[in-house]
Symmetry: C2
Subunit: 536 residues, 2 copies
């Protein structure tokens, strides 16, 4: 799941609404449960993605291996139309070796990681630090002339958080009920524009630091407890930061700033042995089908992003969802059945930077929005989507009967976000009903954002994301150095793959395609004299 | 606080017992609160210990700096009789630089730390791993002949724990009430002997690995979430492990074992640039007094261990307690008052290995137990104490009127463990009464172990440890790489120093010394036909 979320939540609905007469194919569900339980391959699949291949940063050498492996696996399972679809992305990047040490006033090995797509140091770089937190261009003036020859700490040190919630959590009925409450959607283009500009600032900061003769920059991890993340967004060709950058664990970062405040000036030694790979600037989505018998081009689709950050192995984010998608394909294919509609399986790429892969699929197959005014970085690409109207449908728009996304960690599925698609809710509820005893019970009206169903839903398509038990997703593993295979739970992963297969089967064989929401239009200023909503 | 605990808990008592007539000196308490609040130095003191000096492993160069600094500070505050008392300990050791990488099948920087008192690698050591968990000498046979030229992973990989408790916690009334419940003490010399033997096994394992031609050994961190600890116990001269050893974060360790299980054999590159310092095999307790006016040698004492492990800066364990002790000294001294009994402040050393420092003080000043049968390592030194009878009192035994220990992290004091000293409870309750509004309310009958009051209490002296809010002590910081200054809370630290000063003042000026428990004797087998209690 991408870090920046556009979350909009809506209307409580009563499920006493009479469901359509269509029957659930419980005999088929029983076969799916049996295949997904006694013959499950979901844990070997996810173990290969994480332990063996490792992190899958878009366009990295590991991702190239992963792209090929997934196609080989789909082919081995007997799927059809296995192929990759490319889109413009940028540079490949990977870490070979890294080390950050305080060499004075006392020797200390720090916990740190190179920031994605920053350049290597040439051997070890040793220099004194300066603590110069900068969050907007107005802050540059204060530091002009003071950074030459320095390693610059650009984050505010902040304080530790008191984590009074459990690290590991399953949803209670009360938690899920909260997702059923309506919150009116907001549309504030000024706010979206400000959000879109955060990477513009990052680029300006990097240029400022280089102009000032700084040697490297350091950010603080946003989680305590020595966890690291290393996200970076300057992946486009020609946009690479001129300076090496490292993220330092919060405890280590704050110690550096306190030493400075106490009159000592630490010297750091940074070794960042990272490699760029510019052999191919395209990233690739992986696609594979179980062909339908209907012969009318209609299809249903399951998707999960396959790319990850690099501090861990991208296990809960999102090898978990990718493996559930692959296992759902295996389950359905191995049952030897032929659905009415084609069932398509998608492993998206470039999700972590800006939902690039799913957006590219939309633009190629489903609908277009007006082009941006100029070249966009990943933040702008993401936030500007919501401001581009009108939407122009492509011929394939009508063919997509349902899309199911998985990207909220490795936890058990507990229900589904209906994305304000009121008409689809009773049908989704019916399809979900055989899985109630497995813990998946609720269809909630809420929207949820930050992952690949988002821009499909935003053009009116029936595209949904599942509700999942969080386990340690937000507290520990999301984007972090602890995002490894051992934080997954086999029983949860098998449940997810089974339910995904079941939902796909029912969507593929339903008499009618799922209802759609009205085609979204440019929102008007419904409340022009109101105080703008506060920033998050 | 030491990792291995001997905890024994006892009898619920009713505090409706009439308290002795003696009055609490509330005017003095008010002055202590004012001095400890508006003039507090506890945070600057603990910041210097942690950020500036850093971790204080017994006999390390940093500990030598810390020993001198504490004496200088006590002298600067105007305390008397500031001095250090030495005892035999062993080698000094510190980390200059370290790195552990997986170099194949894919490059990956691992999160790891050298194990305390293991030797350096000579430059980088690169070799394939073998997963050979060994927990007792019977396991050696399985691996004989298979370890030559290998880096040996000696821990079981285990699985991640589901942490359903909050990371950050303050005690509720219900939590404290549990400490008031009686549990009958147990005495099982066979079990103590088995516990004492764990380091005997570690030494045998190190010798076995060296004999077999292994190159280094690796243990798994016992916490998930990429935390490290690096505890090691072979600190005695002539007892150093022949092989370098590193602890690897649980996630990274388990990945290595899964890769082996999946048919791949990772190669590791270990760089452990650590240094021994054998300039002085003695460790030192730091002592300082505010002299009493009584002229009869009686004294009360506050103590905290000053030494730490090295993965973090030893902030909550136990710069926090050390700084509270120093701040209590500063508060009382700066008030310019003269207590009836001398007030002594002790910073203990070598606590983490076996309560060495406080035990040395006991043997020199308070009482002796029979000598061990032969040389002891730290585990045996610790566990064997409880089996050595009879206790022989020294002349100084009667002089110690009360001892208060602080070593449960940086959290607010909430009460005091009375260590089964039933007669002292109403008096302690009376002394604590002015601090109820600060959150310190309960005198509980329980014993608590694993820190420096333990062997004083075990010889019948009125020696107590405070109950503290845990904050993140057991979940995050205890012995870990996250044990840094920023996990301390100023308001908690000030409260602790104030209450410690208040308790010391009242104990020093009470008409009578605190009651003592009967002099402990060799326990008899009270229930010889019972099934032995289960192992923890």
């Amino acid at each position: 799941m991408r870090r920046l979320l556009l979350t909009i939540a809506p209307v409580a609905l009563c499920f006493a609404v009479p469901a359509p007469a269509q029957q659930v194919d419980r005999a088929m569900v029983a076969r799916i449960i049996d295949e997904g339980t006694t013959q499950s391959q979901v844990m070997p699949l996810v173990q290969h993605m994480t332990d063996v291949i490792g992190p899958r940063l878009t366009n990295s050498p590991q991702m190239r291996v992963a792209e090929q492996w997934a196609q080989d696996k789909f082919a081995e399972m007997g799927l059809s139309n296995v192929h990759k679809e490319g889109f413009d992305f940028g540079r490949g990047w990977s870490i070979e070796r890294s080390s950050v040490r305080m060499v004075g006033p006392r020797p200390l090995q720090l916990t740190a990681i190179p920031i994605a797509w920053t350049p290597a140091t040439q051997g070890a770089l040793t220099a004194p630090i300066v603590v110069a937190p900068m969050e907007k261009a107005e802050h540059f003036a204060k530091w002009r002339g003071k950074l030459r020859g320095k390693i610059v700490l650009v984050s505010e040190p902040g304080t530790t958080r008191e984590l009074t919630d459990p690290t590991f959590k399953r949803l209670t009925g009360e938690d899920i009920a909260k997702l059923e409450a309506y919150r009116e959607p907001t549309y504030d283009p000024q706010r979206l524009a400000r959000s879109a500009d955060s990477l513009v600032f990052d680029e300006a900061l990097a240029a400022f630091l280089a102009d000032e003769g700084a040697l490297a920059y350091v950010t603080k991890s946003y989680r305590d407890g020595k966890l690291l993340h290393g996200e970076g967004y300057m992946h486009q060709v020609g946009k690479t930061s001129p300076l090496p950058g490292v993220e330092i664990a919060a405890e280590d970062y704050r110690r550096l700033t306190r030493l400075v405040a106490a009159g000592q000036t630490p010297t750091l030694e940074i070794l960042s042995d990272v490699r760029f790979d510019d052999s191919d600037a395209q990233a690739y989505n992986i696609l594979a089908d179980i062909p339908g018998s209907g012969g009318n081009g209609e299809y249903v689709m399951a998707g999960a992003h396959y790319d990850s950050w690099v501090a861990g192995d991208g296990a809960t984010d999102n090898a978990a969802g990718s493996a559930m998608v692959m296992e759902a394909a295996r389950i359905l294919k191995s049952l030897g059945v032929r659905p009415k509609r084609t069932i398509r399986f998608a492993l998206w790429n470039g999700e972590e930077q800006a939902l690039y892969g799913s957006t590219a699929y939309i633009e190629r197959h489903l609908a277009t929005r007006p082009a941006p005014n100029g070249p966009e970085n990943s933040n702008q690409h993401y936030y500007n989507q919501a401001t581009r109207f009108p939407i122009t449908r492509k011929p394939g728009y009508d063919d997509l009967a349902a899309y199911f996304n998985i990207d909220n960690g490795g936890g058990k599925l507990r229900g589904i976000y209906a994305e304000q698609n009121v008409a689809a809710m009773p049908i989704l509820q019916q399809w979900l009903s055989p899985f109630a005893a497995m813990g998946a019970t609720d269809v909630v009206i809420s929207k949820t954002g930050g992952t690949d169903h988002q821009f499909m839903s935003a053009i009116g398509l029936p595209a949904f994301q599942f509700i999942q038990d969080p386990l340690e997703y937000s507290t520990l593993t999301h984007h972090s150095s602890a995002d490894t295979f051992d934080h997954l739970r086999g029983a949860d992963m098998r449940q997810g793959a089974i339910i995904l297969a079941g939902m796909l089967w029912q969507a593929a064989n339903a008499d009618d395609k799922l209802p759609r929401t009205p085609l979204p239009r440019q929102p008007v200023a419904t409340d022009p004299f109101a105080t703008p909503p506060a920033e998050d």
